[in-house]
């Protein structure tokens, strides 16, 4: 009755095996796989691998950068594009080479042939950079077979969240080009736009003492996300958005839930693997799960009191009926639609959710739409903290098979793509050709119909300047609001243990997290009691959690904690 693949194999494993089989003859080409590295980089080696920093002061931001705690700082914000954008790159960029690339894309994939935008950018680059965007949602599943088949393109974007699956310490050693000889120290100054990326952004591009990754959308204000609310709905109901604790949030849940009218106060407030709620209850986030107990012993986020409190509190909200039923079904796909249409008034989402395009979509669904974010708060009402993420969430890498000349050509191209906001190059890379792809409206570029069809985030995922808050779809106020929020947030930033160290864990620990994440979902939605969580933590310890702690104890002893 069910469409079955071959007994014994799911369709996915079938495809994977087929790809793997195709790869077999090629695997002989790579180095001996016996010597496997699991480890990280010590401070001294890190300093040797990192490029020097040379700031660019090409365009003055309209809202200046604000420095926060622990190295955090806001992104520069611009309210209008300079009338006469200066050029940052002079002379020939590429040398006429042809390169295949791969980048993730969340959205419609633009036409690859006859795309005037690609042609225009490639003409400026003086090389043929072939863009092959792949579906961002399945990108993580696409990469392992690609590595196994040794079919990597010349230049590839790899998001940091896919790296644990790739056993990345091994990936950089066997498949990706070491950029240390080209970029370390002052060598980067041949590429001034790359040199303008902050030092912190390069840190997580270093693996086992060598620099491999070019940071994408780097920022010193990377956090998992925040709690958003619909200001228009709050105002209409006369509810204050001055939230200082989870008790305040609970009161909002009561005030804004009206299930009979199809309106609920909350969407899921937890996030996958506690990505968002960890900020409220002060336990570590997914990427850097370790903290220290009072005695100095390493403690995993699963073992903290904070996650227990978070689970209890969220289950209580579910039981009270404050969550939208689709959120209770853990359906996150339509989360944005629920927020736009006003079926929920509060949601947790990433920092990227707050922009002009969102305001456009929201206003289309509900006139008066106004997205705002609660100022940082903690569950108990004391001083909040927020865990700083890597200086970039994605890195791009060059193939190890490229020769010296090709690597230099691609770095020159990367330098062009990394031209800062406000430059002539930035306009070309992001908006194509004036008149064809965009027109200047109220001081900001606005895509034409052809522009919307042909332009997607593609080149930017290969190399790009540091993040800047810019005006999208003419929504100037959104840029101002988001910048003000960020300026408040950076005051509370903290760096987690092992920050930016790219620790390669031995592969036997990769399976530990899956069952725990399933359990979190069950308990946060009230499907299972909190005792099930404590049991799961105990078996997590036995099945490898304690060994993982020992492994990290060793790293701490040998390399420090990256702080």
């Amino acid at each position: 009755m069910q469409s079955g693949a071959t007994p014994g194999m799911s369709r996915r494993s079938l495809l994977t095996s087929a790809a793997v089989i195709a790869a077999v003859p090629l695997l002989d080409a790579c180095g001996s796989p016996k010597e496997k590295a699991s480890g990280t980089t010590g401070e001294g080696d890190l300093a040797k691998a990192l490029p020097a920093y040379a700031a660019s002061d090409l365009v003055k931001p309209d809202i200046p950068v604000v420095a926060g705690a622990n190295g955090a700082s806001t992104d520069p914000a611009f309210l209008a594009y300079p009338a006469n954008p200066p050029k940052t790159v002079t002379g020939q960029v590429g040398k006429g080479g042809t390169y295949v690339t791969m980048t993730p894309l969340w959205g419609a994939i633009p036409p690859s042939s006859g795309n005037a935008y690609y042609d225009a950018v490639n003409k400026q680059l003086g090389a043929t950079v072939k863009l092959q965007p792949a579906d961002g949602n399945t990108y993580a599943d696409l990469l392992p077979p690609l590595f196994a088949a040794d079919k990597l393109p010349d230049w590839i974007n790899i998001p940091t969240w896919t790296m644990t699956k790739l056993n990345f310490g091994e990936a950089v050693r066997t498949k990706l080009a070491d950029l240390t000889p080209y970029l370390a120290g002052d060598k980067i100054k041949q590429y001034p736009n790359l040199a303008a990326l902050s030092t912190n952004a390069w840190v997580a591009g270093v693996w086992n003492g060598k620099l491999y990754g070019l940071p994408i959308y780097s920022s010193n204000a990377v956090i998992a996300g925040m709690y958003y609310y619909r200001k228009d709905l709050f105002d209409k109901a006369g509810v204050s958005a001055d939230v200082k604790s989870t008790a305040d949030l609970e009161a909002i849940g009561k005030a804004l839930t009206n299930a009979n009218a199809g309106q609920w106060a909350f969407d899921d407030l937890f996030g996958n693997d506690a990505a968002y709620i960890c900020q409220l209850f002060g336990f570590p986030a997914t990427g850097y799960p370790w903290t220290t107990e009072s005695g100095g012993k390493l403690q995993h986020r699963y073992e903290t009191e904070g996650i227990v409190e978070a689970l209890n509190w969220h289950a209580k909200m579910v039981k009270a009926g404050y969550l939208h039923p689709d959120a209770v079904a853990n359906n996150s796909q339509n989360g944005k639609q629920r927020f736009w249409s006003g079926k929920v008034a509060v949601c947790a989402d990433g920092t990227g959710a707050w922009n002009g395009d969102d305001a456009k979509s929201g206003s289309a669904a509900a006139p008066g739409y106004n997205r705002q974010a609660f100022k940082l708060f903690s569950a108990k009402g004391d001083k909040p903290t927020v865990q700083l993420g890597n200086g970039a969430g994605m890195y791009s890498f060059l193939n190890k098979k490229l020769n010296d000349g090709q690597i230099k050509e691609l770095l020159a191209i990367a330098n062009y793509l990394a031209a800062p906001y406000g430059s002539a190059e930035w306009l070309t890379v992001n908006f194509g050709t004036a008149g064809t792809h965009y027109t200047m409206t109220d001081g900001n570029p606005l895509l034409t119909e052809q522009g919307s069809k042909e332009i997607a985030t593609t080149y930017q995922f290969l190399a790009c300047p540091a993040s800047a808050s810019t005006v999208q779809s003419g929504a100037v106020q959104v840029t101002k609001d988001a910048a003000a929020w960020q300026a408040d947030m950076v005051k509370y930033a903290v760096k987690p243990l092992f920050y930016g160290m790219n620790v390669s864990e031995p592969s036997q620990f990769s399976a530990l997290g899956g069952p725990m994440n399933d359990m979190i979902t069950d308990v946060k939605l009230g499907r299972k009691p909190i005792s099930a969580w404590t049991d799961a933590v105990n078996s997590w310890r036995k099945q490898g959690g304690d060994d993982l702690r020992k492994f990290y104890d060793g790293i701490r002893e040998k390399y420090g904690t990256g702080k």
């Binding site: 079955g4 994977t16 592969s507």
Partner: protein, 320 residues
């Protein structure tokens, strides 16, 4: 595929010179064998060639070492599998869902076929038939979405209940009812398609038998019991054998899509186990071991079901 087949008679009792016999048969069946070639090629490329990947079940496979360099670990993966409580849970879930489907799903297409057979108006019959076929062509994503929109927490039914101040019915997020939910979805999606083979079996029944029985005074139920059902028995047995052989395959996408709504405990089946603990965790060897284990069990089930069919005097899948 009628009641009896004189298989034993057509087969030569003793073969004097096997080699010559083989050639004669080859020449005689030449065109039939040619016709099977595309299917054989398809199986070879998409079913047999990937089976080489099963070697990973006995390795500690990693993507940088590949088949050639990954170390062999013998039956380690299987040992781990058999002591993994999550695996046993997935197996028991699979068997329970399979049993529920056998009882609640399997008879539905047969009953539907019998009903259709009674409809004499050709236009009504082809219209209703088209309507019940249609869901077969929907993807699982669509089917689950339709169920979600109708029966989900914010779906049509519950919105209506809420408006009237009545209690809501949370069938889509109830882990205990999940096995019935997936069976209901399977019935909605596939039962219409499933009747095709039974309708064919019905068409093959000699109409004279009905006339003769009617002339002897047999009513509708007696004809059903003594002519129609015995006439379908061979096909029903065949479908049952196939179903038992597939007992460990209860759907992959359907479980994957609804996993978040009911949790792992209710929705983990062998296929999703192999996916999550193999592919997602980058532990291909473990996933391959789980898959191979399932494949071997399925093979045993097919052989056993086939034997059972023979015991009932039916052909089943094949006869030696």
């Amino acid at each position: 595929m009628t009641l009896t087949r004189p298989a034993a008679v057509t087969r030569p009792a003793t073969v004097a010179r096997p080699e010559k016999q083989w050639r004669i048969r080859l020449r005689r069946d030449r065109s039939l064998l040619l016709m099977t070639l595309p299917a054989v090629a398809l199986l070879a490329v998409f079913a047999y060639a990937p089976m080489f990947g099963l070697v990973t079940a006995f390795q500690s496979y990693d993507i940088y070492s590949g088949f050639w360099y990954s170390p062999f670990v013998g039956f380690d993966n299987f040992e781990r599998l058999l002591t993994d409580s999550i695996f046993w849970h997935a197996l028991s879930n699979t068997l329970v869902i399979s049993a529920v489907q056998l009882v609640l799903y399997f008879p539905v297409p047969i009953a539907l076929a019998l009903v259709f057979n009674e409809v004499t108006n050709a236009r009504i019959r082809s219209f209703v038939q088209s309507v019940v076929y249609l869901p077969h062509f929907f993807s699982w994503v669509l089917v689950v979405t339709v169920f979600q929109e109708m029966l989900g927490g914010a779906g049509a039914l519950n919105t209506m209940l809420r408006r009237h101040g009545w209690a809501t019915w949370d069938i889509m997020t109830n882990p205990d009812a999940f096995k019935y939910l997936v069976t209901a979805q399977a019935v909605w999606k596939e039962a219409g398609w499933g009747i095709i083979v039974f309708l064919a079996a019905l068409a093959a029944i000699d109409q004279n038998l009905y006339e003769a029985a009617a002339a002897d005074g047999a009513g509708r139920w007696r004809r059903l019991w003594h002519i129609t059902l015995p006439g379908m028995r061979g096909v029903i047995m065949l479908m049952l054998v196939l179903r038992l052989g597939n007992a460990l395959t209860v759907g992959f996408e359907q479980m994957l899509i609804q996993r978040q709504a009911v949790g792992r405990d209710a929705s983990e089946v062998l296929d999703t186990f192999a996916y999550y603990y193999g592919v997602v965790n980058n532990n291909f060897s473990y996933g391959a071991a789980a898959g191979l284990f399932k494949g071997v069990l399925s093979l045993i089930l097919v052989l056993a079901a086939n034997k059972l069919a023979h015991a009932f005097g039916e052909d089943g899948l094949y006869r030696k």
